[in-house]
């Protein structure tokens, strides 16, 4: 009789995944001492208490014309998604045929909506064009990729059954598009939810959506008002399935047109100057190579910023993984009483509907500007999102031995079946976390985003653009790494994974 294998020894796929995850967690723990995790404010709990009070007793009366902000938020999200889909669809058809298209899409989606907004702000000002372009451009890249993946999975049988000599367009319209229509529509609907969050966030750069009023209310300590705005946003998201019904889509789109605005006077000459001149380092345009070296030397010290960005992304990913492991039973029917499950689901929905920048902002007010609030926000938002998806997956499973104690159900029945999917979701999310990491710089955390934001503020567009390119390159690299790391052969049937 052979001896039992040692700790984590063996070649089963489960053990391989466990070893990989533990290695990731260990790496994070080793690097943790390098992160700035100080609590800077004097009275974090008092601050949290006041915010909680504001959330529990929202002051709806204090709001000035919230309707305008709500309508603008929805209109921007609607048209941003719509234009993104219109641009993304033809790109999706070319996606698997052209390396150029794939590269272009990877680039536009590697830059966060808010950074696009900062860029367009310089040319189009605080206008609807800025808001729409900030959503539509990265979404076009995302739609192109996801639509292409969905189209690739079109069942082939109906196409093979067609008589020969049918033209390409008819083939597509009859035997391909209808087969994947539902999946395309459901992904588009999910993206619209993301667009709602992003549209709120646009308030942080000054566009008058809900986020604009939220930010000022929080910043000035009017927590009752902030609570009211948050409640309005949750109500909007929770009732989406009714007001965002597909029958209402056309009237909504047409109606939204009347509320979008203001429309800017675009000065063509200025626009051209910005694109051809302002965005590029002066020595490069003059062909002065030694000057370019001096220009590079004049950049802020990038290595710590890149290091912080990567570290925060790693911490955010590992934090999401741990939180998702802890939280998913809350929303699953296999654990606890029904009312508890309902409460857990509500909690997860609320946390995942809150834009991560919003969460970070709240923690920042509580804890002061270190990496701690950013970490908490990233881990909470993404952890809750993944926990929710995993719980839904778990609810679809039937247990072989339902009478096991809870720990046994968790460790033997459910987790082994759910974990590959959970890890795959985390790996997809890693790219998103990376993008958000850079973004949190706008709140003063010393990541790349901090320098991008300040470069824009000092009107150093060449520097800002260069840093944006660095961020995009980092994102694309992280995406490639996480793709290698993620478990293969996992059917990711949920479109919300990206």
């Amino acid at each position: 009789m052979s001896a039992a294998p040692g700790l984590l020894r063996g070649r089963s796929p489960g053990l391989t995944l466990a070893r990989r995850s533990l290695a990731l967690i260990l790496l994070c723990l080793l690097l943790l001492p390098f992160a700035d995790l100080r609590i800077i404010t004097v009275d974090p709990w008092g601050e949290l208490w006041r915010m909680a009070l504001g959330f529990a007793w929202p002051d709806f009366m204090a709001l000035e014309s919230p309707l305008r902000a709500i309508v603008l938020t929805v209109s921007v999200a609607l048209w941003g998604t719509f234009i993104g889909a219109i641009l993304g669809f033809p790109l999706a058809l070319l996606f698997h045929h052209s390396r150029l298209v794939r590269g272009f899409c990877a680039f536009v989606r590697a830059i966060h909506e808010l950074f696009w907004a900062l860029l367009f702000l310089q040319v189009f000002g605080l206008s609807a064009v800025t808001a729409l372009a900030a959503l539509a451009i990265p979404y076009a890249g995302i739609f192109a990729k996801v639509y292409a993946e969905i189209l690739e999975l079109t069942p082939r049988a109906p196409n093979d059954a067609l008589p020969s000599g049918v033209d390409r367009l008819s083939r597509f319209l009859y035997a391909e598009l209808p087969l994947v229509w539902e999946r395309l529509a459901s992904y588009t609907r999910y993206r619209f939810e993301c667009a709602m969050r992003a549209s709120v966030l646009l308030g942080f750069v000054g566009l008058p959506t809900l986020g604009f009023y939220l930010e000022s209310a929080f910043r000035e300590g009017r927590f009752g008002e902030a609570g009211a705005l948050l409640w309005i946003f949750y109500a909007l998201v929770a009732t989406l399935q009714w007001w965002g019904h597909r029958r209402l889509l056309l009237p909504l789109l047409v109606g939204a047109l009347f509320f979008l605005g203001p429309w800017p006077d675009v000065d063509g000459e200025l626009l051209w100057r910005f694109v051809s001149h302002d965005l590029w380092p002066a020595p490069l345009l003059e062909g002065n190579l030694p000057g370019l070296g001096a220009w590079l030397a004049g950049l802020p010290d990038l290595l710590p910023a890149i290091g912080n960005t990567l570290l925060l992304a790693l911490m955010g990913t590992v934090g999401s993984l741990l939180l998702a492991l802890l939280l998913w039973p809350l929303a699953s029917r296999h654990f606890g009483r029904p009312w508890l499950g309902f409460g857990g689901r509500m909690l997860l929905v609320v946390v995942r509907s809150t834009p991560e920048l919003m969460l970070a902002f709240i923690f920042l007010l509580m804890l002061g500007p270190s990496m701690l609030p950013a970490w908490l926000a990233l881990a909470l938002h993404n952890g809750a999102l993944i926990a929710f998806l995993v719980a839904r997956h778990a609810d679809g499973l039937t247990l072989g031995m339902p009478n096991l104690p809870a720990s046994g159900r968790y460790a033997y029945e459910l987790l082994p079946r759910l974990y590959p999917n959970l890890l795959a979701l985390i790996c997809y999310r890693a790219e998103v976390i990376m993008r958000e990491t850079a973004l949190l710089g706008m709140l003063g955390v010393a990541t790349l985003g901090f320098y991008i934001d300040s470069s824009f503020q000092y009107l150093m567009f060449d520097q800002a653009f260069f840093l944006l390119l660095v961020t995009a390159a980092l994102n694309i690299a992280i995406d490639a790494i996480s793709r290698r790391f993620r478990p293969r052969e996992v059917p990711l049937d949920d479109p919300c994974s990206r």
């Binding site: 049988a157 109906p158 059954a161 008589p163 009859y174 209808p178």
Partner: protein, 232 residues
């Protein structure tokens, strides 16, 4: 006059040969039943026949090849998709063509699907879908009918009626099926495949149900006796 001649050809998918060195001749006006276990090579043979006859033959594939989201009308219309331009087909998706609607309406009624013209195929039962697939093949209006198990999911009584309609509208037919009684009573010739070989090719009237057992390894007479011996 031969409809189609296969002379020592290797048939398969890609590099994998399923039917090596196959020689068969099909005559015009013949009604041929293809029998054999699943995996014996019936679909491979039919795919080759379809490729060679191209637009002369109407085709009814295994598993129907229907589009669930589209209506019965549109699924049947797809049988003649190549005879209209892309624009006409696009408009037909939004507003059905008048004459096509009339014609398909009659066809569908003949197959017992009246009143279902607007119904998405995803809401139909298995037997109804089967009939939509047959309607699509009939709508192609060819002289030859090729079918890969087109009667698999309908009851025996209905299978008989559908087969009669198919044969009335086509001068030749080559159909894979697994109802032996039907093959013997309603076809001129039976071809039996087993493990990539033609093991049976004879006029239907010369065959009996027992002679078809040779096509199935676990139902052959020798196996049968061995099974009886083992159980006693």
């Amino acid at each position: 006059m031969p409809l189609l001649e296969l002379d020592r050809v290797d048939l398969g998918h890609g590099t994998q040969v399923v039917l090596p060195g196959l020689s068969l001749t099909f005559e015009a006006g013949e009604r041929v039943a293809l029998l054999g276990q699943s995996g014996a090579g019936k679909s491979t043979l039919l795919a080759e026949i379809r490729r060679r006859l191209d637009s002369e033959a109407a085709w009814c594939p295994q598993g129907h090849g229907l589009v669930p989201l589209l209506s019965v009308y549109h699924n049947v219309y797809m049988g003649r998709l190549e005879r209209h331009g892309a624009l006409a087909n696009l408009i037909n998706l939004l507003k059905p063509r008048h004459e096509a609607w009339q014609e398909i309406g009659l066809l569908v009624r003949e197959l017992g699907l009246e009143g279902l013209l607007r119904r998405p195929v995803e809401q139909l039962s298995g037997g109804q879908r089967q009939r939509v697939a047959i309607a699509r093949a009939l709508y192609q209006q060819r002289s030859i009918f090729l079918g890969d198990e087109p009667l698999a999911s309908v009851d025996p009584h209905q299978a008989l009626r559908l087969l009669a309609r198919i044969q009335a509208r086509h001068t030749s037919s080559i159909i894979a099926l697994h109802q032996h009684r039907l093959a013997l009573d309603h076809f001129d010739r039976v071809i039996g495949l087993r493990d990539g070989q033609v093991v049976l090719d004879a006029p239907a009237r010369e065959l009996t149900l027992a002679s078809l057992d040779a096509l199935y390894p676990d139902a052959g007479p020798s196996n049968h006796e061995a099974g009886v011996a083992a159980s006693t």
